[in-house]
Symmetry: C2
Subunit: 322 residues, 2 copies
């Protein structure tokens, strides 16, 4: 079986590629950038190009993948207002990608949506897939619209569709200098004795899941019989303050905390119910937070050494993936 991973050189994408290779799948990747934190893999066929570029999409589909996993995402817009050009373009390009998949005889599309942002504010925790979607802000609303297009095309054309809604994936190769990912960003700041900004009282709950657990389910969903929407979370809520404590303890460095007024923007709690995923493949998150944090902080220390000894920080400061 041949799987094309669109956005396969990004943080989550690179782990999905690993999981697919472990399952002896033929893998190709379309991404606008090379992988940032490791060398290209010998077993993967890479297509370098933006998924906004229909020609690049066509090229990567000419090699007849059976399944396409779509997690390309150019949006850095996590704010409250506006509909940035990048979100609109992601939406348009996602629909183009799906239609090209149908044209090229792809049998299944797996779309990486968001479980952390699609449900919005809710009192009903943990959240299962039947809960109403009340996305806040352009990033999450666009993800929902892409979900709806995929389901609509699946209904009309019979292509198999899987939608994954991960909570807050973390792990190695997640940039510590990006705008998303509390764990590497906080850890990097603690490591460099820079202040961590906490909005509100630090009680906001998030459901952190090791990216390899997400990748494992994604690989199974791509290669086995399966369709529909799946939450992927640990089911455990961890507050921002608890997370900082965890990280400080793991790093054995005291954090500098700066508290700022709460932003409406940050929902009070996200904890996902992943019963559906568990029932589908007897899947269960295998890496707990403590183990994951040890690995991430070790990777960040290593990255820090490499960066410090390097003459330039350009690798770290390069833009994010497709």
């Amino acid at each position: 079986m041949h799987v094309l991973v669109v956005g396969g050189n990004g943080f989550i994408g690179s782990h999905i590629v690993d999981a697919l290779l472990r399952a002896n799948t033929q893998v190709s990747v379309l991404d606008v950038c090379s992988e940032r934190y490791r060398s290209p893999l010998l077993d993967v066929r890479y297509f370098l190009g933006s998924f906004w570029d229909t020609g690049a999409l066509e090229d990567s589909l000419l090699h007849k993948p059976d399944v396409v996993i779509h997690l390309a995402n150019s949006s850095l817009s996590v704010g409250a207002t506006g509909l940035p050009h990048s979100d609109l373009e992601d939406l348009r390009s996602s629909v183009t990608l799906f239609e090209l998949c149908i044209k090229h005889g792809v049998k299944k599309i797996v779309f990486m949506s968001t479980g952390g942002k699609i449900y919005g504010v809710t009192d009903s925790l943990p959240i299962d897939e039947s809960q109403p979607t009340n996305p806040l802000g352009s990033y999450a609303i666009t993800k929902l619209a892409i979900e709806k297009y995929l389901l609509s095309l699946s209904y009309y054309f019979g292509i198999s569709a899987v939608i994954l809604r991960p909570s807050n994936p973390f792990g190695i190769r997640q940039s510590p200098t990006g705008v998303q990912g509390a764990i590497p960003i906080f850890a990097w700041r603690i490591l460099h004795q820079e202040p961590i900004t906490i909005w509100g009282d630090g009680s906001a709950l998030r459901d952190y899941i090791d990216v390899r657990d997400v990748a494992k389910f994604c690989s199974m969903a791509a290669t086995r019989e399966c369709s529909g929407i799946f939450n992927l979370g640990s089911g455990v809520g961890v507050s921002t303050l608890e997370l900082v404590d965890h990280l400080a303890e793991t790093l054995q460095i005291a954090p500098i905390i700066q508290q700022e007024p709460a932003r409406k923007f940050d929902v009070p709690a996200i904890i996902l119910d992943s019963t559906r995923a568990k029932q589908q493949f007897n899947w269960n998150p295998e890496v707990n937070l403590s183990t994951g944090l040890i690995e991430v902080t070790a990777w960040l220390r290593e990255l820090d050494k490499t960066e410090s000894s390097s003459s330039s920080t350009s690798v770290l400061l390069a833009g994010s993936s497709a």
Copy 2:
């Protein structure tokens, strides 16, 4: 109270303007076209311009409306595939409009969404507002995304938001030569002894509601205390064949029916539960289908006479409103 109706010269918009004027509201209209089937009203201030044009939006908002009703819609895309430029632009422009409303101190936004297309295929009839939204095709998906943006901005900025989901509004001033609106299109074809195409066996159920009933609720929602999502339907399902019979009987002309294979595209049944709207303002649809059809067919006969006696059919063939 001053209400700006964006798209106020279209079919539904023109009836909303009537309802607002009847309730002694100050009305202004932004639309890309003048009204098609009547002369401009003396009591309305008109701004001619596209809602895709930020300058036109700004101009119409400078006169400080308290409430904005948004029903501008350039999309003619009712097909299964693609994300036409017009839908993307409607989405972008709707978000721009909402943000400008906040900037200019508008207190409430009423958005005319779709109850006929937003729920998709469902067995659970009649459909209330808590049902899942499974829109099929670009038009309905874009409407849902616009709903989500409005709710998101309402959450962040506190602006009051009302979303209306009418079923299948019909009435005078609905174009008989457009792509939407079975009633005028069928009636016009019967009147001209042209064949009516029925996709499938003609059993698909639709919930036809007189546009004045929709307009009346919209006017109340705009001018009184109210927020949230409201279905607006008659609650009665009428099959395509029944509708054709009704029309033929009203016109006293035998229809020519052409049956074609069913399109997946057309959902089997839409009947809305409008309990929420009824409870809000003691609203109830007042015009039944038979009465409405008598009025619409009389209007179409009149239009036909005017058209026939006119040297050109350019009025009828002009593009639809913003």
